[in-house]
């Protein structure tokens, strides 16, 4: 069965530090990849998505992610985090004409001012 792994459950950074959150999926076919973010007290919202083409995807608020097919990975990055990036981040995959989004367990990011 398809699955998504986010290995970092809790990450604590200081402002201006660089961020990389890992996401790996298990599926051999065509995938589309998503990062969602849930800020405290807010809806889950889309940060960025990959469908096809350039494997380096840029999203909102300075985030980017790189799809590396050979590694089954879609890591999220930001060169310099801000306190306002404190949130929970979810990686998700959908596969081969499926309606389903398969989510990872999430990573809680705390950015200290």
């Amino acid at each position: 069965a398809q699955s998504v792994s986010q290995h970092n459950h809790h990450v604590i950074l200081s402002e201006a530090a660089s961020l990389e959150l890992g996401c790996n999926y298990s599926y051999g076919g065509t995938v589309n990849l998503f990062w969602y973010v849930q800020y405290p007290g807010q809806h889950l919202q889309l940060l960025l998505k990959y469908f096809s083409g350039d494997p380096l995807v840029k999203g909102i608020k300075g985030f980017e992610a790189e799809f590396i097919k050979s590694k089954f990975s879609f890591n999220l990055r930001k060169p310099s985090v801000q306190w306002s990036d404190t949130a929970e981040y979810f990686c998700a995959v959908n596969t081969d004409s499926s309606y389903k989004l398969i989510f990872g367990s999430g990573t809680r990011l705390l950015v200290r001012p």
């Binding site: 998504v4 986010q6 459950h9 065509t30 589309n32 998503f34 969602y36 807010q42 809806h43 889950l44 919202q45 889309l46 998505k49 469908f51 979810f90 998700a92 959908n94 081969d96 004409s97 499926s98 309606y99 389903k100 989004l101 989510f103 990872g104 367990s105 999430g106």
Partner: protein, 114 residues
């Protein structure tokens, strides 16, 4: 623009009581609708999805059921709640099924079963 509403925002219910959570979408027609449960440290688990009125598919066996009485209304129900039904329930919609289609999430309902 499209909006998605869920209510109630929080709910505390005793074991064995019934449940009804409602989700409505505005600003779009014939959306696909989804119910997820979010448990701490476990991501989001898809419970039900619907591609049209009266069409419900269940993803996992459980104590819950779903109904779609109108195009933009999705209801999550239970006849008798269990302790294990506690969690954060999210409703979502998308325009069509298939690859690359973004899902939009509601604000969620925090359910505590005592």
């Amino acid at each position: 623009s499209q909006t998605i509403h869920q209510w109630p925002a929080t709910l505390v219910q005793p074991v064995g009581s019934p449940l009804s959570l409602e989700c409505t979408v505005e600003g779009t027609s014939n959306p696909n609708l989804y119910w997820y449960r979010q448990a701490a440290g476990r991501g989001l688990q898809l419970l039900f999805y619907s591609v049209g009125i009266g069409q419900i598919s269940s993803e996992v066996p459980q104590n819950l059921s779903a109904s779609r009485p109108q195009d933009r209304q999705f209801i999550l129900s239970s006849k008798k709640l269990l302790l294990s039904d506690s969690g954060f329930y999210l409703c979502a919609w998308s325009l069509t099924s298939g690859l690359g289609v973004e899902q939009f999430f509601g604000p969620g309902t925090r359910l505590t079963v005592l």
